[in-house]
């Protein structure tokens, strides 16, 4: 159990609680789960809805989790977490964490009401959303967190459409608007920052939420060894940000002096390779507007 802030690999235990899963090689989501569980330690109860992590780790008789874990109904991660927490409390258990790992679709689309309910009740649970920006498990369909211009099977790019045309929901701010005790965004490209945020969430007395960007090489279309690099570049080019929300205030953790060229990040990925000049401009415009707001209102 994390009782202090963990910020480096040296402080992590050597034990693995998520081992032998069948996720694709170089999977960002499995790295996000693995690191969070290493920080929280063996005394955890895990709930995961339908997502790649449940699909690749419960292949009977193989179970990749070595902690208590259950698959929740798709829309009910938050509710199941509350239930587990109530059960553990009723049994008088001590030194445990209840953590849920949902994907972007399971959080921002399908599971949003259960999450909202859990935050409203204020149960001591940790909700981790690993964001790979589409429904990857079912074959790359657009979710509420798919960014503009991303090619998915339900938003194919062609002559008339640049792929997904919606904007990525500000899930972090939606959660923060509940007045949650602690919420944060992270990226597996900055693992130390992510470890610190998970251990901070573990110290909370009520609900906490972590939104971690976890690239998917299969869905995004980049070589498997570049997962961490892409996650880092997403932050460096300004399309993702590292921030925290606590005590009713937003705090920006990493202020990029200068954004790296957006084209470098986008054109590395097959899902963006079709983008034309004007689509790029649209994305740059969206990014700059977002950052203007961030710099004005956040610390």
């Amino acid at each position: 159990m994390a009782d202090r802030l963990i910020t480096s690999a040296k402080e992590l235990s050597n034990s693995e609680y998520f081992y032998g899963h069948r996720a694709c090689a170089g999977c960002g989501g499995s790295l996000a789960l693995r690191l969070a569980m290493k920080v929280l330690g063996p005394r955890i109860f895990v709930a995961i809805p339908a997502n790649c992590m449940s699909a690749t780790s419960f292949l009977h008789p193989q179970v990749a989790f070595s902690v208590n874990c259950m698959i929740s109904p798709f829309p009910a991660t938050g509710a199941v977490l509350s239930g587990i927490e109530a059960g553990a409390r009723a049994l008088g258990l001590k030194d445990y964490h209840v953590v849920g790992f949902a994907g972007d679709g399971g959080t921002a689309d399908i599971g949003i009401q259960a999450l909202s309910g859990a935050i409203d009740r204020g149960d001591r649970v940790i909700y981790v959303c690993y964001d790979n920006e589409a429904y990857m498990n079912t074959g790359i369909q657009k979710s509420g967190l798919t960014p503009y211009g991303s090619k998915t099977t339900t938003t194919p790019a062609g002559k008339n459409f640049p792929g997904a045309t919606g904007r990525k929901k500000d899930m972090f701010e939606i959660v923060a608007a509940h007045g949650i005790e602690y919420a944060a965004t992270a990226s597996i490209g900055y693992p130390e920052d992510y470890l610190r945020k998970v251990s901070k969430a573990a110290l909370c007395q009520s609900t906490s939420y972590i939104h971690v960007l976890a690239p998917c090489s299969t869905g995004w279309g980049f070589p498997v060894e570049e997962t961490v690099e892409i996650a880092r570049e997403a932050v460096d080019c300004g399309l993702w940000y590292l921030a925290e929300y606590e005590n009713d205030e937003f705090v920006l953790n990493k202020m990029p002096k200068e954004f790296t060229p957006l084209e470098d990040y986008l054109l590395k990925q097959a899902r963006f390779r079709h983008l034309k000049e004007r689509d790029m401009e649209h994305i740059v415009h969206g990014r700059d507007k977002k950052w203007e707001k961030i710099l004005k209102n956040w610390k």
């Binding site: 050597n14 081992y19 032998g20 996720a23 090689a25 170089g26 960002g28 008789p61 070595s66 693992p191």
Partner: protein, 103 residues
């Protein structure tokens, strides 16, 4: 090496032997080694034990319990994140099966 063991799977002979409700977690019956084309090899002379590979392996196959880092090749999928992220370039991705299979 301090990594979970693979156990033999006994097929339930009768219907009543099939699991119902909860099943035992941490049961591993099969490895993932067959997924791999390239295999990471650590040059321990160059390795500075910064643990970056241990931190960033999606499969957690790098063991830090010993004096040197060890890779659990049973579950390494050969993604190459460790080699890519190693700051001192101490990890090399080597083709499985040796040179004779390379063509």
């Amino acid at each position: 090496m301090d990594r979970p063991k693979i156990v033999r799977y006994e097929k339930p002979g009768k219907v009543e032997n099939y699991p119902c409700g909860a099943i035992r977690v941490g049961t591993l019956v099969q490895d993932n080694a067959g997924w791999r084309i390239l295999k990471p090899v650590i040059d321990h002379g160059k390795c500075v034990m910064c643990l970056r590979c241990f931190l960033l392996c999606p499969d957690g196959v790098i063991d830090k319990s010993g004096k040197i880092l060890e890779i659990d090749y049973r579950f390494c999928k050969g993604c190459g994140i460790c080699a890519r992220e190693c700051k001192v370039e101490a990890i090399e991705m080597v083709r499985e099966g040796g040179d004779e299979d390379a063509g």
